[in-house]
């Protein structure tokens, strides 16, 4: 393997990787243990923001040290997640709200129906 990598590079990479794994584990535990669906939507954000940032930063540091030039393409992952995850989350929340309304559960009423009644 590459022997030129100093300890000062490997320690941050190791810490960031383990942190990323811990955030993913915390998110999965929350996904399993939360009571309500709308509470359950929150924990996965921990992995898609903090976990992804940690792992991408570890990848950037490691490859930059390995090739002794800035290798920044791992930024694409958190940027892509920051664009796509809110869209999915918003759509899933709307779908869950709609399905719960159809099932007659106790959820907030629709706001836009009042506007259509007036017109």
């Amino acid at each position: 393997m590459n022997a030129g990598l100093s300890l000062w590079v490997e320690i941050p990479v190791a810490i960031l990787l383990v942190l990323g794994g811990l955030f993913a584990l915390i998110g999965a535990t929350g996904l399993l243990r939360m009571k309500d669906y709308f509470q359950r939507m929150h924990p996965p954000a921990l992995a898609s923001t903090l976990g992804a940032w940690c792992v991408a930063l570890a990848s950037i540091i490691y490859f930059s040290a390995l090739k002794s030039t800035p290798v920044l393409h791992a930024w694409l992952i958190p940027i892509l997640l920051a664009i796509t995850v809110p869209v999915t989350t918003l759509l899933l929340a709307r779908a869950a709200l709609f399905r719960k309304r159809m099932a007659g559960d106790d959820v907030p009423a629709e706001v836009s129906s009042r506007r259509t009644e007036n017109t």
């Binding site: 383990v18 794994g21 996904l31 490859f63 892509l80 999915t88």
Partner: protein
């Protein structure tokens, strides 16, 4: 690669695997359809992080492209499933 880094990579891969197993339990148990879609989306994200970690382990750039593809397909799949849940029952 020093033993410190390879052990840290193994530990983080282990943590990702445990997270995937917990998410799979939610995927199989989930009371409603949206719970399953959420768990599937989370599985995609963990698999993508796992790919990045494997890329560090083998010092290869190819894993990054796999991670990017997994992120894109996860988004498209979750989007389509959420859209189906939103429109599947209603007559517009």
């Amino acid at each position: 690669m020093s033993p410190l880094l390879s052990n840290a990579i193994l530990l983080s891969l282990f943590l990702f695997s445990v997270a995937m197993i917990l998410t799979l339990i939610r995927l199989f148990k989930g009371p409603s359809a949206q719970d399953r879609v959420l768990a599937l989306d989370y599985l995609y994200i963990i698999a993508m992080l796992m790919m990045l970690t494997l890329g560090i382990r083998y010092a290869s750039d190819t894993y990054f492209e796999a991670a990017l593809l997994i992120a894109l397909f996860g988004f498209v799949g979750s989007f389509a499933l959420a859209k189906f849940l939103l429109r599947g029952e209603v007559i517009e």
